[in-house]
Symmetry: D2
Subunit: 233 residues, 4 copies
């Protein structure tokens, strides 16, 4: 399996302390626990985003996306290309503030707006314990520090809600959701603020690794659905 | 529209202070805010449950169910009869501990187990604000005292989740859910402990009244689906 | 209630026989059976599409869309505007080849491709007979002539599938589906080819009128979800 | 993985020609293509149904059910036992007329009625081609002879509809559906009449083998959800 991790990498420049929590930056750190003998991982950042082209995506099984401050700096052509490959079967794992990325909003068809606040304590609850993404995950996970993302979350009804988030500040959130678009599987996961340490928790790593396996296409990516249909003229 | 309210009425006997919160008992109190010129309401309790028969259910559009301590005292024949009428189109609004009633479990096919604890503070959140049951309901409702019901809630995936509950003790819950069974619409709503006062809150009353209107059958209740199908010889 | 009907009106110019089936064109004919004392209907075509502006959409409860040959002639700005108003609560009824309209694809996030063929006989089946859109609709409707639209239909999993289409040529189709996007309700309905006569059938008219009522927003259209959320900086 | 196949085996006694199509009876034939080095298969019939007990089900990962004429001869205690093990995680693959088995109806909470007719030609369509059960399955499968099962099918809204059935006699059907109940995965699949030969087709065998793999529990079967919750007293 081939995984491609995009992390915009802008926070890392402004706030080098991120490297204390996440050596190698968010992309490097994600790679460090995802890569195995069977899973090859490549990373790109906003600086190197031009590496994302048709042939790289053709061989990518799952794309992981972390972005926040520079969503608008991702070119529309790049978004179109990624969209095409997701519809052909490439999986997408959208982490934390990727809810406002161009590609996620294009797939959802909504604003993907939500409520937010800094500095909350979160408790994740599994409400779909038989889902592959919840395999070996305890029924609840405490995150001592996490950014609050709260309902109403402006998303299409998920195919599956796997995790609900509870915040000490009084809010709730659909923190782990799946959707199918074309042949592609999509998982959105809320934890993962750049200066807290969610990705270092073994349970969170288990979820992300499960998600990568789940999102991997079950068939060869050959075409988009009914793509030989050329229009109605 | 004709509404039938079942409240087992056992708590009221053991703890007459309930009448301070809910004059007329839970059933009487529910009736007081549901009944209008257009909505006739009848009530039964465990003591008078034999009033529930085929002809009463035939003319009932929506059944409201509140039970807790005496689920097992409801006869299986009564449950079968109610089940038949729900499949024919009678709506069901299952309140609070009705999650463990025989009729609700029969409709769900699962245990309907959940976690619980006394004495919590709850905050309800609307996550489906365009649903008729959420009409004129604010995006969040604070219940200073409510029993905690927490996930994992052992229910089939709801057709719609309208409310999520947040509890100060750290749990979350799918507090308002809908399902279709046969021609019948079902709404489960978690608030409504016997000694707290959820039903006195105007916002909670709005939800229950909306649910009654939503659950009312849209067609004459004539038959269950494909009931002329007599089996496969 | 205010309904706005868009029909591109291109077929009518090329093939005036359409007026024999649909006096006034498709838009005029739809208006003739939708308009009532309580429902005001306005129509636009591609020629007059510039009438679609913010204030017209602000007062529109439900938009009906019929397009086919000139999807690309609808400007992106117009699509953005319509999209914004749907997210704020305006309903959308997308008819027949509107599956490939820019606005429908933007809402779905997929290609909305399908299989197709001319000159089929279709039988519609109701599989959600308790849905408001199926009210007073018989369990099956025969359309002697209709264009075949067949699976695989590249759409997100619908919130509800109300109608399935059977075609004598061997295909099936999810012919009536609903989705929620933002505050807006969306109904896609497959029958309605320009030279056949589906819209003249009373049962089809009942479905479209039901859909208009169902898609009407249940709350005042004030804002999009969490629109005061200005970004994460 | 351990698979248990129940086939009531009553048709085989009345109509020995079934053995021409299905050597070993339906259960024997299913076993012949499901069993592998990694999958152990045991079979029971109505005559030997008392072999189904707590310890056999404890070690069963997936139960396959084929029944038709003798649904009522399956004891309620057996049904309760199977139900408990499904809620604990045992998968269920319900084939053809198992829609009217006691266990399937108990899980669904509805009548599971449908329309039916002998001697139809069926065409199955995949509408969920990215689902593990559709892996390596062509987009359409022709069954020259199959019993017609038609909508309206009185089932709860499936979590996923994977196959739609088209019948030359004019009907459609949700021929392959999934549901989750407790920790257990359920797949219903419509083809498989006792005197036709659906199970001999490689594509149908692929579907059933995929379903067995999909329905296998992803966690150790230890308990039902919140089973330590002992009631509200």
């Amino acid at each position: 399996m081939k995984v491609l991790i995009y992390n915009e990498g802008v926070h890392e420049k402004e706030n080098p302390e991120i490297f204390d929590t996440y050596p190698g930056g968010i992309h490097g750190y994600l790679k460090s626990f995802i890569e195995t003998e069977d899973i090859t991982v490549e990373t790109v950042t906003l600086e190197t985003i031009d590496k994302i082209n048709d042939s790289l995506l053709e061989e990518t099984d799952v794309l992981i996306w972390w972005g926040h401050k520079a969503h608008n700096d991702v070119k529309d052509e790049t978004v179109e290309l990624i969209h095409k490959h997701i519809l052909k079967g490439m999986g997408l794992v959208a982490l934390h503030s990727a809810h406002h990325s161009k590609i996620f909003k294009k797939l959802m068809g909504t604003t993907c707006n939500l409520k937010w606040r800094h500095d909350a304590r979160e408790r994740l609850w599994v409400i779909n314990p038989y889902h592959p993404i919840a395999k070996d995950v305890p029924e609840t996970i405490l995150l001592e520090e996490e950014e609050m993302y709260g309902e109403m979350f402006d998303i299409p009804q998920p195919d599956e809600v796997i995790f609900l988030g509870w915040f000490n500040s009084g809010e709730v959130f659909r923190s782990g959701c799946t959707w199918q678009r074309g042949y592609g599987k999509i998982f959105y996961f809320q934890p993962g603020h750049e200066t807290f340490s969610a990705f270092t928790k073994p349970e969170i790593q288990t979820i992300i690794k499960n998600a990568v396996n789940w999102a991997c296409p079950i068939r060869n990516k050959k075409e988009i659905i009914c793509e030989n249909f050329k229009g109605l003229e």
